[in-house]
């Protein structure tokens, strides 16, 4: 354990804790309203939204898991870069419509919109449950990020407590209780304010890392020369298979299509003050993608630095696998005070999205399960209370996830979440442009998509392999299961919509008008 690094880490952690509580008073609103607690009053301007979404989408997963793949498997992990390039034209072109209709109708979640657009509570329930289930492993992923950072500092995770015995993951539990309390107290304002600190730290660490480490290692030429020549770029297609290039493209495309269907992304977008803010952010958010690309290269730098064979890191690699590559690289390359800063950036980088994700799940539970099925007469302040309590339950669920599940390749959990959440695309995205799809047909498509997606991922031997080859005329096309299952979903939704509309002729039950989308 390094006292300097730990002191700086703890000090920064305390700073953001204070900010989390102070945030309740920032741009003060009535926190007993769901749109105030859960959407920050829809008042965030371009700059705050930029920090909020940046902190929300580029998470601890960015710091840990993406370089871990480059470290372990080479070029294929770099798909995160095209993924975060391709997401923004979609945000730009499509999401101002969602923002507008949500503002006009008071929608807080994507499922609220589906409920209004198609007049079908069952479909909205499916969208809401998908959102909650897909987000749980994503929150767990943030915890893994925090765990790796805490362990990298050399802090003991299993702490004996007098009267109770040894408590596993105690530092993590403490951090999470603190997070839960200020999220409960301040709502979306807390991660918005903390995101300012997180991103400032992130940029400092990234810039320092990509200047200092390549110099120490003798330049990028030497770094890439040390990498495995077979995986520096992707393997070429063969006569029997399109190979890793198809996997790469479909991983990028599937992740892109999934990202802004996630509840935390929708929450971040809907909290902005206008559709112009949404557009401007689509144009300026790629700055984070650049940081992401540089962070990804840390994985290759860790290979060149040879951290895996250094005895002082053996324990960390044993516990966390390749996810320990970046922490080990930081400890190896940085002076100890800066190790404290870097690890604080990772841990705080986990807090911001974890808070937003739990708020987004809480919004879904409150609006689309509690209000729809349990207590339709719930008052506005009752809604806020239910949401606050739900945010606590969601976090407890995520804790259970990481304590009980193997986390060596956390990125696979996130890719599985993508397979699930992408199945809401026809209802949400197509729904923004047409009400002619039949809600029961959309539900059938959703079932087909979820069923085939889960079957493909688990069919590959419960290893949570998410890239599954599709056989086309004897030619294998490796394809991210999210993409192939989405195609099936769309086909089923379209065919049965056509059939139901032709046979039943039920008029659409649409609570929105075209003017609401402008």
């Amino acid at each position: 354990m390094n006292p300097t690094a730990v002191t700086i880490f703890v000090a920064l952690f305390l700073l953001v804790t204070v900010l989390g509580f102070v945030a309740a008073r920032w741009r003060r609103g009535d926190l007993n309203q769901l749109s105030e607690w859960g959407l920050g009053g829809r008042r965030f301007g371009t700059v705050v939204t930029w920090f909020l979404l940046g902190g929300d989408l580029y998470t601890a997963y960015t710091f840990i898991a993406v370089p871990a793949v480059l470290f372990g498997a080479g070029a294929s992990g770099f798909f995160a870069v095209p993924y975060t390039i391709l997401v923004y034209p979609i945000v730009y072109a499509i999401y101002p419509r969602l923002w507008s209709v949500a503002r006009a109708k008071g929608y807080v979640t994507a499922a609220d919109f589906v409920r209004g657009r198609f007049g079908n509570g069952t479909l909205a329930l499916a969208v809401a449950v998908t959102g909650i289930v897909a987000t749980m492993p994503y929150i767990a992923l943030q915890l893994v990020g925090m765990e790796v950072a805490i362990a990298g500092l050399g802090i003991r995770m299993d702490v004996p407590v007098p009267g109770i015995g040894v408590v596993h993951d105690l530092p993590l539990l403490i951090a999470f209780v603190v997070l839960a309390v200020y999220t409960y107290n301040s709502g979306l304002r807390a991660p918005a304010l903390i995101a300012l600190v997180k991103d400032a730290l992130l940029y400092i660490v990234v810039i320092a890392a990509v200047i200092i480490i390549p110099v120490e290692l003798g330049g990028f030429g030497r770094i890439f020369a040390a990498a495995d020549p077979k995986t520096v770029i992707l393997a070429a297609p063969t006569a029997a298979s399109l190979g890793p290039q198809a996997a790469y493209a479909t991983l990028a495309l599937g992740s892109t299509l999934a990202l802004f269907l996630y509840p935390h992304a929708v929450t971040g977008l809907l909290s902005s003050a206008s559709r112009h803010v949404v557009r401007r952010n689509a144009v300026i958010l790629p700055a984070y993608s650049f940081a992401l690309g540089l962070i990804a290269l840390l994985g290759t730098m860790a290979v060149a630095a040879g951290v895996k064979s250094m005895p002082q890191f053996a324990e960390g690699f044993k516990a966390f696998g390749n996810q320990y590559a970046v922490p080990a690289l930081f400890v190896h390359a940085f002076p100890s005070w800066f190790v404290g800063v870097a690890f604080a950036a990772i841990a705080i980088g986990a807090l911001v999205p974890a808070a937003i994700m739990s708020i987004a799940c809480a919004n879904l539970f409150t609006r689309n399960i509690w209000k729809e099925y349990v207590n339709p007469a719930v008052s506005p302040s009752g809604e806020a209370t239910v949401a606050k309590l739900a945010s606590l339950v969601v976090k407890a669920g995520a804790l259970f996830f990481i304590i009980d599940l193997p986390t060596k390749y956390a990125i696979n959990l996130q890719l599985l979440g993508g397979v699930l959440i992408i199945q809401t695309l026809p209802s949400v995205i197509f729904g923004l442009y047409t009400n002619k799809l039949n809600p029961w047909a959309l539900l059938m498509g959703w079932i087909a998509g979820i069923g085939s997606g889960v079957w493909m991922t688990y069919g590959a031997g419960f290893t949570i392999t998410t890239v599954v080859p599709i056989k086309l005329f004897g030619y294998a096309v490796p394809c991210y299961a999210a993409v192939s299952s989405l195609i099936l979903n769309i086909v089923v939704s379209a065919v049965f919509s056509w059939l139901f509309n032709a046979v039943l002729r039920t008029p659409p039950s649409d609570a929105t008008m075209e003017a609401d989308y402008a």
């Binding site: 770099f78 391709l86 990028f220 890439f224 297609p237 290039q245 790469y248 144009v283």
Partner: protein
């Protein structure tokens, strides 16, 4: 009062498709040379597209904002 209906689609929006062609066609950039300061082509080319992706959104953004302002 009688504002013309806003068009959802305008031809300039086609610019937004360019990054998809460039990035999903993996074969076009899956190579080592030419490198940039030791970074293989595969990596720096995709990083470059972050900037180019913004570059194709900018004209669309200004056209849309001008269009909406003229309808107010």
């Amino acid at each position: 009062m009688d504002t013309p209906k806003r068009r959802i689609f305008r031809p300039i929006h086609l610019l937004l498709l360019i990054p998809y062609v460039a990035m999903l066609w993996v074969g076009s950039y899956n190579r080592l040379a030419p490198d940039l300061a030791g970074i293989p082509f595969f990596y720096w080319y995709q990083m470059l597209w972050i900037v180019l992706g913004v570059a194709v959104m900018l004209p669309v953004y200004f056209a849309d904002e001008r269009d909406e302002a003229s309808r107010k």
